[in-house]
């Protein structure tokens, strides 16, 4: 009896030690994950803050070694992100509407949903290659339009996904109540479903904006870069990510400093968008 007793406490102790070790390891893993986030943000802040001044927002990207700002790149990024989002959002919302409201889980709907999820995680550089073949080769030169199209193609799957998710959360009773009053389906969807899901869909659009505003690879193949002020989407267009890429890898100190400034700017904007859109989503969950 005594033997059994001692055996089981021994075993119990070992189980407890294993448990404690694993718990400690999982806490360590969490700290490890947060550590990188803190380190990256700190690096950006300490290196980039010196470049955040009026010059950054008022002057063009300089020639090698010179002083200047990022005005043309900021403008190009904002413009292409805006056009890409404005073009991609309605497409994404309508495609998502089909999946959530019309497909009733049929084969076609399942296939589209599946493909959409693949596109959502597909490497963005592939999208860049696609648009390069589609537009740049045909037009014979890099252009802002090609950049917009590439960004729109990246926006679409994000918006489709959130639209489907959000419309699926709308209670069917709402739709049935409207339908019982004789409301045609398109009105039920636009007046009832969309309104009920509005905040969630808005979150999706903001997340899509956050996603595309940091995209570099697809722009490298489409909009490329432009050292000068340019508002013509038919010509190569400066944009923050590509400028950061080129300046950071250059041997000039001034250029590298500007790259850090741009990196801080872009990250701050994206993190802000992320936080705002997520708190918006929570607001709608509370309702």
């Amino acid at each position: 009896m005594v033997m059994v007793q001692s055996f089981s406490t021994e075993r119990y102790r070992r189980r407890r030690i294993v448990n404690r070790t694993v718990l400690a390891l999982s806490i360590a893993a969490t700290v490890f994950g947060l550590f990188w986030l803190a380190w990256i943000l700190w690096t950006l802040l300490s290196n980039g803050i010196a470049s955040i001044n009026l010059q950054l927002f008022s002057q063009m990207t300089p020639p090698p070694g010179g002083k200047g700002g990022l005005l043309n790149a900021i403008f190009g990024s904002v413009l292409m992100t805006l056009v890409g989002t404005v073009a991609g959002t309605p497409i994404g919302i309508l495609a998502g509407t089909y999946l959530a409201e019309f497909s009733y889980g049929n084969k076609f709907g399942q296939v589209i949903q599946f493909i959409n999820d693949i596109l959502l995680s597909a490497p963005s550089i592939i999208i860049g290659l696609f648009v390069y073949e589609l537009l740049v080769v045909r037009m014979g030169h890099f252009s802002g339009w090609a950049g917009c199209v590439a960004l729109a193609i990246i926006v679409i799957p994000v918006v489709v996904r959130t639209t489907v998710d959000m419309l699926n959360l709308v209670p069917n009773a709402l739709r049935e109540a409207a339908a019982a009053l004789g409301t045609p389906k398109w009105k039920v969807i636009t007046m009832i479903s969309y309104r009920a899901a509005l905040q969630g869909m808005l979150t999706g659009v903001m997340l899509a904006v956050a996603r595309v505003s940091g995209e570099t690879a697809p722009l490298l193949f489409t909009a490329l870069n432009n050292q000068f002020w340019n508002t013509d989407l038919d010509r190569p267009m400066a944009n923050l990510p590509v400028v950061i890429f080129q300046f950071a890898l250059s041997p000039y100190d001034d250029w590298q400093q500007l790259a850090w400034g741009g990196a801080l700017l872009i990250t701050a904007a994206i993190l802000l968008l992320n936080i705002v859109s997520r708190s918006l989503a929570n607001l709608s969950n509370l309702k």
């Binding site: 986030l37 990256i40 690096t43 693949i118 596109l119 592939i126 890429f245 890898l249 872009i266």
Partner: protein, 309 residues
Amino acid sequence: MSGQNVADKLFFGATVGFACLVLLILCGVIFSLVSGAAPALRTFGFGFLTSEVWNPVTEKFGAAVPIYGTLVTSIIAMIIGIPVSFGIAFFITELCPPILKRPLGIAIELLAGIPSIIYGIWGLFVLAPILQSTVQPFLINTLGNIPVIGNLFAGPPLGIGVLTAGIILGIMVLPFITSIMRDVFETVPPMLKESAYGLGATTWEVAWNVVLPYTRVGVIGGIMLGLGRAMGETMAVTFVIGNAHRIATSLMAPGATISSALANEFTEAVGDTYLSSLIALGFVLFVITFLVLTAAKIMLIRLQRQTGS
């Protein structure tokens, strides 16, 4: 009434049309890659996949080096990413005090939100010098002396290279794998866990013997999704891998991945064969990631069916 009918038809038509557009985009991607890659594939045949040569001067190209680089960096990323993601997901779902759950979730999302180029610039200017001065000499002096494995850790500490790229990829895939693991862990019915606790199981035993077997398919799906991300990641890798077209046994040596070769060389490529070879590389990347992502998706769908959610 007929006006409403027309509006209904138009609206339905628009939604179907744009749903088809999603399909069209995928077809367009495949078609444009195939047609762009055709000249190179016709010239080099299947040898393109196995040849190590990458010589713009003689216009001889092979994909073996970038494919190797893509696989090795992704494997390193998974070695780092999987256990850490599991740890974080385990902490969030089983241990974390409720008040910390949301801030932690947001922090993980922010890590996912940081653009790839930021990881790149940070990796090149901050992480690589630190690896060069501390971690790499340590690895070379310890693991480098072991007979067979030592070859992986031989050579001078350059800072940039395959290992550094793998480490950064590991950090980048953390949030993706973590958030999927967290989501699938939360699908486990509380009843299952409680009955295990009722039998006297420890937290770890519940996680290992109840939660993990129940969510296995989903966990593997999440890992594959992370793998797909790691393989296609471009800018972060481009900054730190060194872009050298040769296969070195040492992980410290510079190398190239498919995406880094594309980002580095595409805009400077002259000559149709060169450009076509780069597009062929893109096609190879597309095929690999497509297969991995499809497998991931199928597994996640299977878990969904199983839990009925």
